[in-house]
Amino acid sequence: MSATVETRDTVEALSVEKYKYGFTTEIAMEEFPKGLNEEIVRLISAKKGEPDWLLAWRLKAFALWQKLEEPHWARVEHPPIAYDELYYYAAPAAPAPKSLEEVDPALLNMYEKLGIPLNERAALAGVAVDAVFDSVSVATTFRETLAKSGVIFCPISEAVREHPELVRKYLGSVVPYGDNYFAALNSAVFSDGSFVYIPKGVRCPMELSTYFRINARNTGQFERTLIIAEEGASVSYLEGCTAPMRDENQLHAAVVELVAMDDAKIKYSTVQNWYPGDAQGKGGIYNFVTKRGACRGKNSKISWTQVETGSAITWKYPSCILQGDGSVGEFYSVAMTHNHQQADTGTKMIHIGKNTTSTIISKGISAGHSNNTYRGLVKIMPNASGARNYTQCDSLLIGDQCGAHTVPYIESRNASAKVEHEATTSKIAEDQLFYCRSRGLSEEDAVGLIVNGFCKDVLKELPMEFAVEAQKLLAVSLEGSVG
């Protein structure tokens, strides 16, 4: 048997390997009737005991959403989404737990399978985990430690009750409810998500983390995350996603808003591993997410790092509005697509303040029959004197049935600003592959090694525990792509 045939056989064996996280947890679910109308929006709001202003806000968003049209400019294709066939609220039937001991053991067991045993992870890694199981946060750890330093880290539904003045002030201030089709939908029906508030001068004593997980069949996930860092505050926030195997496509339309005041720093890291669909492109998550950060204060900094390996479709542009003078925006991204996955992702850097700087490093890897698009905007406004941007977008193609696309928009209206952009597209060099193979690495390991090297500039930006997971994910996602 020749080496190639052997590789192909191994690859075939691997590619039918079940999605590692493709299991479901059987627990009683409380569901609203499916479909979307004003009644459902009112039900969600009532269920959460929300104040009138929030219900009014949701209803305004819903009314607008009905008038909006789904965007079609991205390079993604999917059958029409039947919004009336989705469930807009699902939560474990038992009342929300007060501590880890109260958490449903079936849930804890599931997280363990995912590699995030709450107790252990919390103890060993010093990470506070706010785990979102479908729509309701089931456990929040290290709340006391955080509370001591004045940090608020809780489900957003709780924040609405406990800190209404903060939520009201900032909710929708970065991503208004009418921002786009999916943001409007999210604003109308968002079920839960995380809320983080770091008071003035506080450096958050630990990295905050949330695991999102889609569980119930036919349930759209509509998280809403709001992070506020007051003057001189800093925080690092991690978000990881895995989802069980499903045949139906599931919609995930989240909104993330970040606000950084003077000298504040927010680092937001994501490892996205939603179920990508099977090798034939059946099933998988539609991940339509609006993420945006506002650098409102002087010398503030917002840094997005993302590793996107999952989802059937990814539509996501974490952006920075660089309003404060001297503020800094960063975007580090690895997007890998395989089989029939489609990714259209990138960033927007809007330079408004003087001496604002932004860095964009994007690495796209396409394999199988997938399509991978970088789409980004760098905009220098007339007052952004001394602004600086550097962008690098590299694409790697593995196999001759995939596509890699780069669509950057660069608009400069200030002569003293300096904008640089470079992009390359290529395949893995034969000589690199040959070098690794001659040292005894299998073809698959060699490709994995080279791809990890290709992504290094981004992976090194991830917090350590995520970097390790991300490297493993890349290797797993690549399985079956060579040969």
Partner: protein, 363 residues
Amino acid sequence: MTALPTRSLEAWRYTDLRPLDAMSFAEAPAASIPGDLPDIGVPRLVFVNGRFDAAASSALMFAHDFATVTEESDLPLALINAQHAQDGLTLEIPAGVDAGVVLLISYANGGALHPRHRVSLGAGATLTLLEVIKGEGVYWHNPVTDIVLAQGARLAHYRLQNESREAFHLATIRVGAAADAAYESFTAVMGAKLSRAEFHVELSGAKAHTHVNAAQLLGDSQHGDFTSVVRHKAPDCSSRQTVKSVLSDAARGVFQGRIEVDRVAQKTDGYQMSQALLLSPAAEMDIKPELQIFADDVKCSHGATIGALDEEQVFYLRSRGIPEDTARAMLIRAFLTEALEPVTHAGAHALFEAAIETWWTGK
């Protein structure tokens, strides 16, 4: 008439044709030609307000009569052109013939002009086509140029767009290149109140090659849009693009360049660079370089920069005793050099150099 494209179309997001839409143009009047049309000692063909002027032109055995136009694309401007086209250059160079240099002059001073030019080169034929486009007053020039290159043919196509500062210039240039053919082009964008040059180059045979270069030199409130789509449809083709923009006053420059690589176009080598210098605070540059790639064994890259003249370089020259204005002129000339590379014909090169010099001193 087909409606003008609006900014809601992705291909037109940076160029707003409403100022043109608001105007109404009568049919272009007959006009006599000015005396200062360039003459570089080669056969020349003169179009005045979109009509061929035989008296001012040299006899050329490869030129043919104008034939009616059918438009197959859905490009709005090409459709409008097809609806109005009444004249245009028809040049057919037989296989194996080296047709030397031909000068094509378009002069206009009023009305709406929709010439349809057609240039075809037989297998192995070569031609250098130098276009000089100029005029006076208010008019709308909407030329479409269709170019067909058979196997191994080589066309060098140089365009000096120096329209009246009150005019609208919207040119569409479409090229099909067969195996081993080469299309080498350079466009200088200097004139018109609002202009767009839109290139569609298809490399449909193996080892075809193209250069689609441009230099935009704009001032006042001029708007210049250089848009190109280079499509690799066969293996082993190569494309090179260098687009340089120098913008002063409240000028706005646009570059949109897409490289498309089809599934079959393995071993494609595509390169694109666009750089802009903003010389004044009110100038604006918008760049959208795009890669759309469906083949894996390719080497494609693009780069884009926007910024001001490097003050350190200016300082270096001044410290050597060179006056500031001369220093800046030198740096801008150097900045433009790379874009002019495909212009290998000495006469054409001199013409562009002179035009750039005039632009700089007139600023």
